[in-house]
């Protein structure tokens, strides 16, 4: 197991390296002068000054030299300064990353638990009205475009009913650190979390359903029933344990979708997370920030895949990893 883990972690390195090189190249090709935002509104800028700045920031170097310099700094956890905000990149990204983590984790925990419950219910009552009903609902949720669902939620719950705030993360009039502030923050989370949850239910719901249906056909469940266990124990203690194993992997595999979805939802709701940060930095040519955000997202995704593999082996003793 340890050898397997070490090998998997070593495999992460080239993947991250190639990903970073690819993204760097793409952002390098992005149209627009990176000095533009910095020099906008500087009245007495001379051509010599502009050239001096280009040399100073190494913008005339070939792309591989620029990438190498970036990589070297990144390895020392020093991704540089945002051109837009003039702050160290980590000072901008870390709070945003924390906000995104709260949003996605809330969506994953709520969404996936609901999905697992619906899947179990559908499997136990296969072909019943509720089985079809939940399947249809999950299908509808999957087919709703997230940004539009977000807009509709704003119309219904924020504009018409006025129950929830339209966007952002905090209201200007609450004092930070009080219970009211926490309640206010939760209120801001409800709509984004709901939108993220709704579009992500289907995968896990259907997987849970088919996985449990498969297990329910196994002989050992007949044995469990034959020795007189009631249905609750048969399903809860014997069937679910095995049925949940593949579902864990699916939850991890769909993580990139949740993170990607949160980028859209954050942008629509003006929620200050990394997704919105990425959007703003791409729109504003803030390459340093965009690069770091993409890398952090890629790193998170790879980490989740690794976690899924480890969990899978841990949950299912039939699987043995070869080092």
């Amino acid at each position: 197991m340890l050898r397997y883990l070490v090998r998997r972690i070593l495999e992460m390195v080239p993947l991250l390296f190639i990903t970073s090189a690819l993204i760097y190249l793409l952002l390098y090709l992005m149209p627009g002068d990176p000095l533009y935002t910095m020099l906008e509104g500087v009245p007495n800028l001379r051509a010599e000054d502009y050239q001096r700045l280009r040399v100073l920031y190494g913008l005339d170097d070939p792309v591989y030299i620029q990438y190498w310099k970036w990589l070297w700094q990144m390895l020392q956890l020093n991704p540089g300064y945002s051109r837009e905000y003039g702050l160290p990149v980590f000072d901008i990204i870390l709070p945003a990353f924390k906000n995104t983590l709260v949003l996605t984790l809330a969506a994953v925990v709520i969404g996936k638990s609901v999905a697992v419950l619906l899947g179990i219910f559908s499997a136990i009552r296969q072909y019943s009205f509720w089985d079809y009903f939940f399947t249809v609902i999950a299908f509808i949720g999957y087919s709703l475009p997230a940004f539009w669902l977000a807009l509709m939620m704003i119309i219904v719950f924020a504009v018409k009913l006025g129950w929830l705030p339209t966007s952002g993360m905090t209201s200007p009039d609450v004092v930070p650190g009080t219970w009211a502030a926490t309640a206010d923050w939760l209120k801001h989370l409800i709509l984004p979390v709901t939108v993220l949850t709704i579009s992500e239910i289907i995968q896990v719901q259907r997987y849970m359903r088919s996985s449990l249906l498969e297990v329910l056909r196994q002989d050992y469940l007949t044995t469990a029933r034959a020795k007189g266990l009631n249905e609750r124990a048969v399903i809860g203690r014997h069937a679910l344990k095995n049925a949940l194993i593949p579902v864990v992997t699916i939850i991890a595999i769909t993580m990139p979708r949740v993170i990607g979805g949160s980028a859209v939802v954050e942008t629509v709701f003006g929620y200050p997370g990394v997704g919105r940060l990425l959007y703003v930095s791409i729109m504003g040519n803030d390459l340093v920030v965009a690069m770091s955000v993409v890398m952090i997202i890629a790193f998170t995704v790879i980490l989740f895949n690794l976690l899924a593999d480890i969990l899978y082996g841990w949950l299912d003793p039939r699987i043995r990893y070869q080092g």
Binding site: L27, P31, A263, G275, I282, V294, A298
Partner: protein, 292 residues
Amino acid sequence: MTRGKSTRTPTGRWLALWQRFKQHRVAYAGLFFFLALLLLVIFGPYLFPYELDQVSLTERMHGPSTRHWFGTDELGRDTWVRIMHGGRVSLTVGLMVGISAVLIGGLVGIVAGYLGGVLDNILMRIVDVIYTIPRIVLLLVLSKVAGPGLGSIIIILIAVEWTNAARLARGAVLSFREQEFVLAAQCLGASKWRVMLRHLLPNSLAPLIVAATLDAGAAIRAETTLSFLGLGIQPPTPSWGNLLTNASTNIFIAPLQVFLPGMFIFFTLMSFNLLGDALRDAMDPRLTQVRR
């Protein structure tokens, strides 16, 4: 010996497929929605005498009426006509991307799976890298690089979506590679390309057709999202996405204008997903694929 056509002939197989597809009520619903949408966007604009950009300053932000079924926007342009034209753009993107991505990805997957070796390794590492970054994040970066416009959005969507088909085709080919029919073809002296195109491709078609349907839906979802965020199709060319950008600025006054284009996106995605699902069931009930 059986008389007439054996079930192994291509016609027999496609016929059996069609029969299984027909039994699927959901498949009918998907197909119906899709054809209805196609007819609507083709003929819909001609139901009214308005041009796409015909401004009518006396009829700004009107609600639905007999003159304007879906009302008008802030410049008095007819929303019905604009949604139908936007649908042409969005559906074009979906169909072009779905078909091209599967053609390219299918070929790449078959070649990688059959030839193996270094080529396979390189191609699959590229696929891994593309899978490492969430789709929409990668598309945000790509769309800025490629610039706005119908052509560039189609190209960047293909650049990302081909990976699904490549993985599926490669997986299918790996399972066929050691089977007798491939060996037989090789023994009869078939060239590498003949084995791939005449024997492996037809046998891998089932998962690829499903992938094309689901990819087309994914492409429309991505296009409308990017266009909504201002990175895809740009006005004055209408798309369901940028119609929503425009409408969302008046969300407090005219929520109906936000509701309508979204419903069209929803029904389109729904029909593609239903169709893909039904095709998957009809072709191979065991075939399951997780969408990323």
